[in-house]
């Protein structure tokens, strides 16, 4: 039986349990008042019936593929035909599995046909076992809970305890995700650093992981050009676009614009943040980059690259405008109105008030916002993948091509790579650096903003 059908069956059993518990309760109680409403008795029994087997199924689905593979490897057929080289071995097994499930019809390796029956047979044996175990669990749970349904049974308290456990469980997912990210990045990075010296990685200036290296040669894992490219595009060029435009937009919309203009323009500018990054990437590569290349050629810059840091940074800056402007908006709005009045009452003009009082007073909030924007920009992937190029140059020429951390992660992990090579693992080391830097930026930014908010509360 397929997992989905089993799942539906279990839910059906749960409904049956729900109804039968209520019937039992009304038979036992008659006119008597019960401690908990029949509803809760129903839920109590239904949960006991359906939840344990479903949890079991989730576990089962995750471990069976491995179990089935082991079982197949142990069969005599497998012993005869399986190659010893691990990569070929897993490829053959995967093909046999796909064949057995009917996902493919003709395998590349004819041997897979020999293995497929073993797969199908083992799989169905395990499936049968899973079905039987799940049903046993369901009936056991049902029997346990059903016998406890009595008028004085505190079903509501029990159900609520289960609900609380579910709530707690749900909120632990966030911690699990964080732990998952940190653990996987750390684990793969450690493996990478056992092959490549961390100092060479962090301070080396030559990045060419795709090249074939002879033993004893510099493997080309020096990430400094990547770090520079990331900073150059995300923290310099993009911010040169986003800070003036974002800040001045916020100033205009909060201090000068009529309320109707503000009501319309604010959401329109926020659309800029909602456009998918792949669209920006396409726009940067197809529309902006050629213009910049031609402009560079026109002002006499020889061999301007069509994948320039400027094109990627410019478009990324446009994407970041709403972040800067909404943070600046909030920060300026948080400056007490009495400051503005105080300055205006001295005979200052609006712009003098804004430049000399409001912006200095809002500065911590604005700086926090800019830090968040930088963290966002350096983690941005698609724009740089599509527009920044792959050449790991250490250059401050905005018309040249530079590459970034995220671009290289994508580059290292796409295509056919075996998972354990230094190249793939390098992507995780880059990911770790990116994660740590964005995390620090966020922590600092949030702390700055929080302290600033407190100053005016």
């Amino acid at each position: 039986m397929s997992t989905l059908a089993l799942l539906i069956l279990l839910i059906g059993l749960g409904i049956v349990a729900w109804v039968s518990a209520r019937l039992r309760l009304s038979r036992l109680a008659g006119e008597e008042r019960t401690h908990s409403l029949p509803l809760y008795h129903g839920w109590y029994v239904a949960l006991w019936t359906a939840v344990p087997p479903i949890l079991f199924l989730i576990l089962w689905v995750n471990i069976t593929p491995a179990l089935v593979s082991y079982a197949v490897i142990d069969t005599p057929v497998a012993a005869r035909i399986l190659p010893s080289e691990p990569l070929e071995r897993s490829a053959l097994l995967a093909e046999a599995r796909a064949l057995a499930k009917g996902q493919i019809e003709a395998p590349f390796n004819a041997d897979a046909r020999l293995l497929a029956p073993a797969y199908a047979e083992t799989q169905s044996r395990y499936d049968l076992g899973a079905t039987a175990l799940a049903l046993i669990l369901a009936f056991a749970g049902f029997a346990y809970a059903f016998t406890r349904v009595r008028p004085d049974f505190r079903a509501r308290t029990r159900v609520e305890r289960i609900v609380m456990a579910a709530l707690l469980g749900a909120s632990l997912v966030a911690i699990l995700t964080t732990v998952g990210i940190v653990a996987s990045l750390l684990f793969e990075s450690f493996r990478f650093f056992s092959m490549v010296n961390p100092l060479d990685f962090l301070f080396g200036t030559r990045w060419s992981p795709q090249a074939t290296v002879l033993p004893g040669e510099d493997p080309g894992f020096g990430a400094v050009p990547l770090f520079w490219g990331t900073i150059f595009i995300g923290a310099i060029i993009a911010m040169l676009v986003a800070i003036p435009l974002g800040l001045m937009s916020a100033v205009y919309l909060t201090q000068y614009a009529r309320p109707a203009v503000r009501r319309w323009m604010k959401p329109i500018l926020e659309i800029l943040a909602g456009v998918p990054t792949v669209v920006y990437g396409y726009f940067a590569a197809l529309t902006v980059a050629p213009v910049i290349r031609d402009a560079a050629a026109a002002i006499g810059i020889a061999n301007a690259s069509s994948e320039s840091a400027l094109a990627a940074g410019l478009v990324m800056g446009i994407m970041i405008i709403p972040f800067v402007s909404s943070m600046a908006d909030d920060s300026i709005a948080a400056v007490p109105g009495s400051m503005r009045d105080g300055s205006l009452a001295m005979g200052a003009t609006s712009s003098e008030t804004i430049r000399r009082v409001l912006i200095p007073a809002a500065l911590p909030g604005v700086v926090g916002g800019v830090l968040l924007a930088v963290s966002r920009a350096i983690g941005e992937t698609m724009i740089v993948v599509m527009a920044a190029g792959l050449a790991a140059n250490l250059t401050a020429n905005p018309f040249a091509s530079v590459t970034t951390v995220t671009t290289q992660i994508v580059q290292l992990l796409t295509g056919d790579q075996e998972f354990d090579s230094a190249k793939t693992l390098a992507a995780f080391a880059l990911g770790l650096v990116l994660f740590v830097v964005t995390l620090l930026l966020n922590i600092v930014a949030l702390r700055v903003v929080k302290r600033y908010r407190e100053a005016y509360e």
């Binding site: 593929p65 996902q103 509501r156 609520e160 579910a166 709530l167 909120s171 997912v173 966030a174 911690i175 995700t177 990210i181 996987s184 990045l185 684990f187 793969e188 003036p244 435009l245 001045m248 937009s249 205009y252 201090q255 000068y256 323009m265 500018l269 659309i271 800029l272 909602g274 456009v275 998918p276 990054t277 792949v278 669209v279 990437g281 396409y282 726009f283 590569a285 197809l286 529309t287 405008i321 402007s325 003009t349 609006s350 712009s351 003098e352 983690g379 992937t381 698609m382 993948v385 599509m386 992660i409 994508v410 992990l413 796409t414 992507a427 990911g431 990116l434 964005t438 995390l439 966020n442």
Partner: protein, 430 residues
């Protein structure tokens, strides 16, 4: 009095007595004028920033529309075919049964169509019509088997070269296309195939449905996981969680996850779901799982704000008539907070729908020529499709990429519109 001032040191006297400012002097008037000029400049700079930002947006959208709308159309050639003379070995009865396509293929319809093209357009005829033109002819035959015994002029899709020459020009085929157009043999129609097909190597044959279905499957998984987990976490943190180190840890985790670059979630998906749990590569299931982890913090944060906005008086009222704390939350707080939670969910889902980088990491960038069959079969997604087509060299892909972007933006616009509608309709002010 005067004497006393005179005896004071020079500096102190100046401090005590200032000459009243004369605002009417020329210097002062010039200064004021300069200040007002600065004010106007500053104000203009602000306006310019707003206009420039909006202009970027307009330029982006107009560029995409201008290029993309052509992607929804196809160029067709009127191809006269004499079926009676061609001698197709297919009976009208066969055309009405199942297996008609196979029968047409084995009867050599493709050859018949190619010959007809050569006959109609000259020796280069085969290069003018699409490789799949015969399929269109076959469909026409199936719809009207009576044609088999006679002649017909059928509009078939033109080849990529003709399509490009007809739409944008500047190709070697321009002159030929102008000639065909003068003969009234060229028509333009809506490319239904673009909405129903999947990826292909020929830009005239690509379709968006494969990627769209992949996106829909991915979003279903994301929603089913992220929504319940997000709402339950939000409720727990806002309503029940004791203030202790664990709760702080959860809060810090959620706030940081919301700011983690999306590509890191891709790395997580690759290392955990693919490498450790051996889940299938390129599958919508894994994509959905990955995006769910990314979307969940957004929903939790929106959910917490919505729950927080429900006034305590409602909780007190319910507790006061003897409801348990679970009943208070599930009967009163969640229904009242639902519009806010839904708005946050839709915004999070819209962000997930436009996300590309994490899906690249888990292999959803493969070339997949048909719509995905299910959650575990290889799939791609709309934004990934945009990325893949943008990498194609053939010029015909430019308009198809932009057309795919239009489809993506329409979906995002619809979702955000729905979110705004929900917010306005159900927004409660306490």
């Amino acid at each position: 009095m005067t004497g006393m001032v005179a005896q004071m040191p020079d500096r102190d006297r100046k401090v005590a007595e200032r000459v009243p400012t004369d605002w009417k002097t020329g210097a002062m008037q010039t200064r004021i004028r300069r200040r007002y000029a600065a004010e106007r400049r500053f104000r203009f700079m602000g306006l310019a920033a707003v206009v420039l930002s909006a202009a970027f947006l307009a330029f982006l959208l107009v560029t995409m529309l201008a290029q993309g709308l052509r992607g929804f159309t196809e160029t067709r050639l009127a191809l006269p075919i004499d079926f009676a003379a061609a001698g197709l070995e297919v009976t009208p009865a066969q055309l009405e049964q199942r297996g008609a396509d196979a029968a047409l293929a084995s009867a050599g319809l493709e050859r018949v169509v190619d010959n007809a093209a050569v006959a109609a357009f000259g020796p280069d005829g085969m290069d003018l019509i699409s490789d799949t033109a015969w399929i269109r002819v076959g469909e026409r035959l199936k719809a009207d088997p009576g044609l088999l015994g006679g002649q017909a002029v059928i509009a078939v899709p033109a080849s990529a070269g003709v399509d490009l020459a007809a739409k944008s020009g500047d190709t070697p085929l321009d002159a030929r296309v102008a000639e065909l157009r003068a003969q009234n043999r060229l028509t333009t129609g809506f490319a239904w195939g673009f909405l129903t097909g999947a990826d292909s190597t020929d830009p005239t044959r690509v379709g968006i449905w494969g990627a769209l279905k992949g996106s829909i499957l991915t979003m279903v998984v994301t929603l089913l996981l992220a929504f319940p987990i997000g709402v339950l976490s939000a409720v727990y943190l806002e309503e029940y969680a004791p203030r202790n180190r664990w709760t702080d840890l959860i809060e810090v985790s959620i706030n940081n996850l919301a700011a983690v670059p999306s590509i890191i979630f891709g790395l997580l998906g690759l290392a955990v779901f693919l490498a450790t749990f051996q889940m299938p590569r390129s599958a919508a299931l894994v994509g959905g799982l990955t995006l769910a982890l990314m979307t969940m913090p957004v929903i939790v944060i929106a959910g917490r704000n919505a729950v927080k906005a429900v006034p305590p008086s409602i909780r007190d009222a319910a507790l006061g008539i003897g409801a348990s704390r679970v009943q208070v939350v599930f009967h009163h707080v969640i229904p009242l907070a639902l519009p806010g939670i839904l708005t946050g969910t839709i915004i999070g889902m819209a962000r997930a729908l436009g996300e590309t980088a994490p899906l690249l990491m888990i292999g959803m960038r493969a070339f997949i020529a048909g719509p995905p069959g299910g959650f575990t079969s290889p799939a791609t997604a709309l934004p990934v499709q945009v990325f893949l087509w943008s990498d194609e060299v053939s010029r015909g892909f430019v308009e198809k990429t932009s057309a795919a972007i239009i489809v993506l933006l329409v979906f995002l616009l619809a979702m955000n519109g729905l979110a705004i509608y929900l917010r306005n309709k159900f927004e409660q002010r306490w």
